[in-house]
């Protein structure tokens, strides 16, 4: 099992290196002068040239890459952003934790509610409850997340004023631990602050997750329905396993495998959709930063951002693969060969 994880991690690292190199080079090849763009048209040429050489843009690409990678690995220095005019690592440290928090919250919602609704739907198959849930699931799947965002903003923030319109309060420096606002507030015992931050998280998280919850519920439902007619369920019943155990252990475990696999895709979708949601709710997160960086073709910013997403994505996939291997001994045993 450990070998399995190591192999995956090692391979993931290789891919990320390759990816970062590709993107790094790609940006420097395309026409356009990002330095000039960031400094503006009025700045004199010598200043632009000086900045360009400071940022190593005049060297050959492999050399640039070498310096950059060295910086990343040894010092955690991702270079300087032309957009924020600060070290990228600082930007990452500020914005990333908040997005991670949003992502984790959303991921939790997706898995728990998706499985819950899928299970209910499967157990009460073909009843009015099932049909109702399936209808909602279908609507959830076809509606783009930003549409949900608009809907929820209108309903819950404007008309019913239950949740705030957007943004996220910043914690004072003393309270900061990880940078994840709500989490920090929680572990510091500031429950009222935690409450406020949690309320700011709800609408973005729900807008992000609703579509995925729907998708997850459908997959889980069909997975359970497929397995319910399997011989091993009938055998477990015949042989005397209690009804509840049959459903929640014997049926749930194999059904979870496709569900978990799909969850990986949902995480990918999450990371992508977060862009729009963060913009719409003015949530000061990493996706919104990444968007700016990408739109302004900020060289160091883009590659750093891609790398970060790549790492997160790879980690999530490894976790999911581990989860599947844990559930399905067939995968586990094959993997150790």
């Amino acid at each position: 099992m450990a070998l399995f994880i190591f192999k995956r991690i090692g391979y993931g690292i290789l891919v990320l290196f390759a990816l970062s190199f590709v993107i790094f080079s790609f940006i420097r090849i395309i026409p356009g002068d990002p330095v000039r763009m960031s400094l503006g048209p009025t700045v004199p040429d010598e200043v632009v040239a000086r900045m360009r050489s400071e940022l190593h843009f005049d060297r050959p690409i492999p050399v640039q890459y070498y310096h950059w990678i060295k910086g990343v690995l040894l010092r955690g220095d991702f270079g300087r952003s032309l957009f924020t005019h600060r070290p990228v690592s600082q930007d990452i440290a500020e914005f990333l934790p908040r997005s991670i928090e949003l992502a984790i919250f959303s991921a939790f919602l997706i898995l728990s509610f998706g499985v819950l609704f899928g299970t209910i739907s499967a157990l009460f198959r073909d009843t009015w409850l099932d049909n109702l849930l399936r209808l909602f699931a279908y609507l959830g799947v076809v509606t783009p997340p930003y549409a949900f965002a608009i809907l929820f903003m209108l309903l819950f923030a404007f008309y019913w004023k239950i949740f705030p319109l957007g943004g996220m309060p910043t914690l004072p420096e003393e309270l900061r631990v990880t940078g994840m606002t709500a989490f920090d507030a929680l572990i510091r015992g500031q429950f009222d602050v935690f409450g406020v931050t949690l309320r700011h998280l709800v609408l973005p998280a729900v807008s992000l997750s609703l579509g995925s919850i729907a998708y997850q519920a459908r997959i889980h439902r069909s997975s359970m329905i497929d397995n319910i007619s399997k011989d091993y369920i009938a055998f477990a019943r015949v042989v005397g396993v209690s009804g509840a155990t049959v459903v929640f252990k014997h049926l749930m475990r194999p059904s979870f495998i496709p569900t978990l696999t799909i969850f990986g895709l949902q995480v990918a979708a999450l990371l992508g959709n977060a862009f729009l949601i963060e913009v719409m709710f003015r949530y000061p997160g990493f996706s919104q930063y990444s968007l700016q960086v990408i739109m302004t073709k900020d060289p160091y910013g883009i590659v750093a951002v891609s790398l970060v997403f790549g790492v997160i994505f790879a980690l999530a996939n490894i976790l999911i693969d581990v989860g599947v291997a844990w559930l399905d001994p067939r995968v586990r045993l094959k993997a150790s060969e």
């Binding site: 399997k230 011989d231 091993y232 055998f235 477990a236 015949v238 005397g240 475990r253 067939r330």
Partner: protein
């Protein structure tokens, strides 16, 4: 020896499956019974409905798409389908079953230990872990499993076909039941293992006072291991009687054809089998379902389903050939 009390009685059982094209009339009025301590055999071609009967008895037939169109199943005197909840309770307590394919019967994500523990927990909550462990060991030893400890911690994918079936048998016998059903327990196993498993089953059945219904293609095993045999064809019971007698002298043309088709080392060798194929369950023949293939076919066979006759003491046949004899009372 077998008592007189009927543990299980199936009367005129009619079961159909609803499919896209229509209604499959799988069971066409099946009558069979098992007395206490009796070992019953059930033989017939693949697809004749044997598994459906067993599944109806243990109540694991999915009720849509299947439908109980008529007849009753009495277990210990109660109609199990009348009050399904009570029926299921009674059946779970008193009946156990071994399925045909041990690989499909075992949940791939659970270890043997987990599965057994679940069964034992279903039996009684108040058992300590140690008690459970010793029961599990015993159960595996009972089925002659080598290295029980290792097997307990294994997953089905790590076990061979024979071992899986042994595990299934062990699981089936974990609770003390009155009736054990075995649905072709060796059909999906290698021939070399088949003998072992049948021997094992024989020992286990002989040793206990359980009633059994054994379904198998291994006619030799049926002859040896059962007291009474039913022969089934296309959803009907063709004939029944004490094992030895039935094998010595089959009455129904189908049974005769079946025994003749069995390859023998002495005598006929490999025969041609029975011409034709099993009828469609969608549009079954109106009369006797075997008549299209029957060498003794008569006009009445196509018109009327043959009633049950008793050509001899304890022998019953459902065939118009024996119409001159007294009709059976049951």
């Amino acid at each position: 020896m077998a008592g007189d009390k009927k543990l299980l009685q199936v009367k005129d059982l009619l079961v159909s499956y609803k499919v896209y094209e229509g209604l499959l009339r799988v069971l066409n009025g099946v009558n069979l019974c098992v007395r206490e301590g009796e070992r019953v055999g059930l033989i017939g071609e693949t697809g004749c409905g044997k598994t459906t009967i067993l599944k109806t008895i243990v109540m694991i037939v999915p009720m849509p798409p299947a439908r109980l169109e008529g007849g009753v199943v009495f277990f210990k005197g109660t109609d199990i389908h009348r009050d399904r909840k009570a029926g299921i309770r009674s059946v779970r307590k008193g009946v156990s079953m071994i399925l045909q394919d041990p690989t499909a019967a075992l949940n791939p994500t659970l270890s043997v230990r987990t599965f057994m523990a679940d069964v034992l927990k279903g039996k009684s909550q108040r058992m300590s872990k140690a008690e459970r462990n010793s029961l599990m060991q015993e159960a595996l030893e009972k089925v002659a499993m080598p290295f029980p400890e290792r097997v307990l911690d294994s997953y089905p994918v790590q076990l061979s076909g024979g071992m899986r079936q042994r595990v299934c048998i062990a699981l089936a016998l974990l609770k003390d039941v009155d009736l054990l059903l075995a649905d072709e327990p060796t059909t999906s196993l290698d021939v070399t293992i088949e003998e072992q498993i049948l021997e094992l089953l024989n020992d286990l059945i002989q040793g206990s006072k359980k009633s059994t219904i054994l379904v198998s293609h291994a006619l030799g095993a049926i002859r040896k291991m059962t007291d009474r045999v039913y022969v089934m064809y296309a959803g009907d019971i063709a004939e029944s009687g004490p094992a030895e007698a039935l094998f010595e002298q089959p009455f129904h043309p189908y049974t005769r054809g079946l025994f003749a088709a069995t390859p023998r080392l002495t005598g006929a060798g490999i025969s041609d089998g029975i011409a034709g194929e099993i009828p469609s369950y969608l549009y079954p023949p109106r009369g006797c379902r075997f008549s299209p293939r029957c060498p003794e076919r008569m006009p009445i066979c196509d018109e009327e389903k043959p009633p049950v006759f008793q050509p001899q003491e304890q022998r019953e046949v459902s065939c118009h050939l024996y119409a001159s004899l007294t009709k059976s009372e049951s």
